[in-house]
């Protein structure tokens, strides 16, 4: 069954030429020298007043990176990136070290305001407490501009700051966990990131603490010819809980820009981390010109017993996405979840999915992935579910569906399911193309037309993913909610 008109309209509404965040902030900025070299790394490290061990760590990564070859297995194609033609450091001039909110350049505040990210804490001071408060770490090109609600979080014992600040203030914590989930040499882009990461967020939730508000990082690439390499590290101590949101946009430019981030999550005994992303990088124009190359390594380590990590992503941006948020289920009874909606339009290429690696006993995971491709885009789900020898009673359920809108796009599914333990029970399916006759009959009997019935049933279905998103992201995700999938293919 082909996609219905409503779906086509909805997808069109978020087509690449409708990109709303393509403006450029006119702000004086300082850049490091072009090119990737030891000097670049030393410059970066010095710029951030990093401890000696960190500089060495980066240099080691750089040396390893220079020995590596770019991976070619993903179903994406793009001209070779010239890593020596990039700036690895770009920061608004007005930002010199951490500042309080009222010292931040108003131009920057206006930028975030325009993006719908309020960076002010004023409402609270005025006594008008909004229903859902979110602490935001705003990253502009290579630096964190401001982190809100820091003091209030501190009272709860929660550390939420830029990773640069964490390296100065909490070096032991960073040193203990950095690279422990995504090793320096994990893959080509992770190694590059390890060498040149500029900023990102650091979150530490102490034992037994439930983080009092949502934490959020908003990434904005503004400068030209600049790669953004952020690094995020989240540690949830025993029995703690945190919900973390991530958003990203970039101006509309003709050339491609590189974004190679690494996100590491560590959940100890009974801890839970909920990580949500609305990825809306500039996808390129309707002729496929420009756009962000989003080559991201995201991995969570369920290190403790009964720990839980859940990834939720709504992906609409980027010219090329190469991203597999994964869970290492090490602790007994730990649980990993992955919920994803990836919509591709124009000439976008998406190769995304997840890895659930079951190492511990009684671990369970769930994967729900919906891919919608339109225009001339290619949308690939690539996933791995594996149970190792000792992962007795591991459970996985995977459902990955895709929908094509139009004749010039492609949807692909590449699942790897590896079981090395007999008691591991894996189920993988893709069945959305069939809405059950019973459900249809039930709706029609109550006076709904075919279209309405299908929309109702399917929307209920997509909500599997949407309802995993925190309220704050609902607005951005809203336009996707009603996309129906009735013509989908497995």
């Amino acid at each position: 069954m082909p996609a219905v008109q409503e779906t086509i309209d909805k997808v069109k509404a978020i087509d690449v030429d409708q990109y709303k965040y393509g403006f450029v902030t006119d702000i004086e900025s300082e850049k490091g020298a072009k090119g990737l070299s030891e000097e670049t790394v030393r410059f970066l490290s010095a710029k951030k007043n990093e401890p000696e061990w960190m500089t060495e760590w980066r240099l080691d990564a750089l040396r390893r990176f220079q020995q590596m070859e770019e991976p070619e297995w993903a179903r994406v194609s793009y001209p070779k990136i010239d890593f020596d033609d990039l700036y690895y450091w770009a920061a608004p001039k007005s930002v010199e070290g951490p500042k309080s909110l009222d010292e931040v350049d108003p131009e920057l505040l206006a930028t975030y305001e325009k993006l719908g990210i309020p960076l002010s804490e004023q409402e609270i001071l005025a006594g008008v407490e909004p229903k859902n408060r979110v602490a935001v770490d705003a990253v502009f090109d290579s630096v964190s501009v401001v982190t809100t609600f820091k003091e209030e979080l501190k009272k709860a014992g929660v550390i939420f700051c830029s990773i640069s600040e964490a390296l100065r203030e909490y070096p032991d914590l960073v040193r203990k966990y950095l690279g422990s989930v995504v090793p320096v040499t994990d893959n080509f882009y992770a190694t590059l990131n390890s060498a040149v990461f500029s900023d990102g967020s650091f979150v530490y939730i102490p034992e037994g603490v439930r983080c009092p508000m949502e934490l959020s990082t908003y990434f904005r690439i503004n400068e030209q010819n600049t790669g953004q390499f952020e690094r995020t590290l989240i540690i949830a101590e025993k029995g703690s809980y945190v919900s973390y949101l991530e958003g990203c946009t970039a101006p509309q430019r003709d050339e491609n820009q590189l974004h190679a981030a690494v996100v590491e999550l560590v959940a100890l005994d009974d801890a839970e981390i909920k990580y949500s992303t609305v990825q809306n990088w500039f996808p390129g124009d309707k002729n496929g010109k420009g756009g962000i190359y989003n080559f991201v390594t995201k991995r969570g380590d369920c290190r403790g017993k009964n720990s839980k990590i859940s990834w939720t992503q709504v992906e609409t941006g980027s010219a090329i996405t190469w991203k597999y948020p994964s869970c290492i289920l090490r602790g007994e009874n730990s649980r990993g979840e992955f919920y994803s909606i990836a919509v591709s339009n124009g000439y976008q290429q998406v190769d995304s999915g997840t890895k659930m690696i079951h190492l511990g006993k009684n671990t369970s995971s769930r994967i729900i992935s919906k891919g919608i491709s339109a225009g001339r885009s290619q949308n690939t789900y690539r996933g791995l579910v594996s149970a190792h020898r000792k992962a007795s009673n591991a459970r996985n359920f995977t459902q990955c569906d895709s929908l094509l809108v139009g004749q010039d796009c492609g949807a692909h599914t590449v699942p790897y399911i590896e079981s090395k333990n007999a008691s591991a029970q894996f189920e993988h399916e893709a069945t959305t193309s069939k809405i059950s006759d019973d459900q249809m009959f039930y709706c029609q009997q109550r006076g709904l037309s075919d279209e309405e019935a299908v929309a109702l049933i399917v929307n209920g279905f997509v909500k599997d993913v949407i309802q995993q998103l925190p309220m704050e992201f609902a607005v951005e995700a809203q336009k996707l909610i009603s996309i129906s999938l009735e013509g989908s293919v497995g």
Partner: protein
């Protein structure tokens, strides 16, 4: 990684190169065929045997498995071939025609060529065909696997085989068994082309008997299923051997045609049954079934690519795997749907049952879809025997071993029964029982 650096050849690869030098003058074929052989061997020279870094062989590392390569088997003695056929009769009482390949070469004296001719089917010796006109076309590769390493090995060393042509409109009264016989140890490499004329019907049986010793068996079956024709192919890869069993199907399916196949694999140390099915005409159907049993240190690989290159075709892929010991099962399936192949209906299912703690299963059911008005679904499951079912049977007085056997049979029967061809498959239950009892 870097193509310009020559690889270090393994013992088996060196053996293969030596084998080629010794055998090439005696191998059949025209000048064009000889050139194809050289090119195929050069591919092995440059890339080595297929190994785990090659995506298609990620789970079935032939390069690591083959420690050495035996010479090609010598020409068979007729009476020896007859003796093996009597001793090992894969299809028993089933009434059928036989086409016999002994040590890789067509043996007309033991084949029912005359009877087949009277029903409209001709059998040609592949060795002769390879020497004739258009010979190079007999050694084609599938569109979806142009550089496959196992097919390259086949092309380099092909000793013989048959071309069976069923004329348009002919329906054979009995199935045809194409049997590979080994009378002495050594590698067997064959290429077989089955051509169905328009509206023809053929039930083909493929079997392999005798002991090849350390020698690998590499057989390629090329099915040409013309418009309105129908082919049911049952392939039984049974009888314990420690040598590699490498089977390839390259099928082209015309319009309003039907292809049905069952690949039944039990007790092979290293097997790969790979199938490339391409739809060339509309409104056709392909039903591909696989049943695999592996124990000990076996590796059993079922690989399948179904290429929906034209609109309005259906395909069903249903694979069952039972694993015991430290065995490793592999299923790699892919459904390709071309951009204009609208109204494609594809459904792929792979299910594995693990009987032991140390067995491993790797499932990779892929979809690659470029058309927007299609239904494609796939599923994959793996797990152990359901304790509740086992309890249910035991509570009714059935001993544990028998209860397990019943559940394994029930599990595998789903695919076998759906395949149909009852008179051909009725002996399979005994084979499953035999494997369970004795592997």
């Amino acid at each position: 990684m870097n193509a310009s650096v020559p690889i270090k050849h393994t013992q088996a690869e060196s053996d293969l190169f030596n084998r080629f030098e010794r055998a090439k003058d005696a191998l059949p074929g025209s000048v064009a065929v000889a050139a194809l052989r050289e090119a195929a061997l050069n591919q092995v020279r440059e890339k080595g045997l297929p190994h785990r870094r090659v995506e298609e062989y990620k789970y079935s590392d032939l390069r690591a498995f083959l420690k050495s390569a035996a010479p090609l088997a010598d020409v068979a003695d007729i009476s020896a071939a007859r003796a093996v056929l009597v001793a090992q009769d894969t299809f028993g009482e089933l009434d059928r025609y036989k086409v016999v390949l002994a040590n890789g070469i067509y043996l007309e004296d033991l084949s029912d060529a005359a009877a087949l001719a009277s029903e409209g089917a001709t059998v040609t010796n592949m060795s002769d065909a390879l020497a004739g006109e258009h010979s190079a076309q007999l050694l084609g590769s599938p569109k979806a696997g142009p550089n496959d390493g196992v097919i390259a090995l086949n092309t380099a060393f092909v000793q013989g085989g048959v071309v069976i042509e069923v004329k348009a409109g002919a329906t054979l009264s009995k199935p045809v068994e194409l049997v590979h016989v080994a009378t002495s140890t050594g590698a067997q490499v064959t290429r077989n082309k089955i051509v169905l004329g328009k509206g023809a019907k053929l039930r083909l049986l493929e079997s392999f008997v005798g002991d090849t010793g350390e020698g690998e068996l590499n057989a390629v079956f090329d099915y040409d299923v013309a418009d309105n024709s129908s082919l049911a192919a049952t392939r039984l890869i049974v009888g314990r051997t420690d040598a590699a069993r490498l089977l390839t199907t390259i099928a082209k399916v015309g319009a309003q045609a039907e292809l049905k196949s069952l690949g039944f694999v039990a007790g092979m140390r290293f097997s790969r049954n790979q199938q490339f099915v391409e739809f060339k005409g509309e409104n056709s159907e392909a039903k591909i079934y696989g049943v695999t049993m592996a124990g000990g240190d076996d590796l059993a690989d079922q690989t399948l690519i179904v290429d929906h290159a034209v609109p309005n075709c259906n395909s069903r892929e249903f694979f069952k795997t039972v694993l015991d010991g430290r065995a490793k099962g592999v299923y790699q399936g892919r459904i390709n749907v071309a951009q204009h192949a609208q109204k494609t209906d594809g459904e792929m299912m792979t299910q594995a049952l693990l009987l032991s703690e140390e067995a491993e299963m790797a499932n990779k059911p892929e979809l690659e879809i470029f058309a927007d008005d299609v239904i494609c679904a796939h599923g994959a499951t793996s797990g152990q025997i359901d304790e509740d079912l086992l309890f249910y049977l035991r509570a009714r007085g059935i001993p544990e071993d028998e209860a397990k056997t019943l559940l394994v049979l029930a599990f595998l029967s789903e695919a076998i029964e759906e395949y149909g061809e009852d008179n051909v498959t009725e002996g399979l239950e005994a084979r499953v029982r035999g494997w369970l009892a004795g592997h």
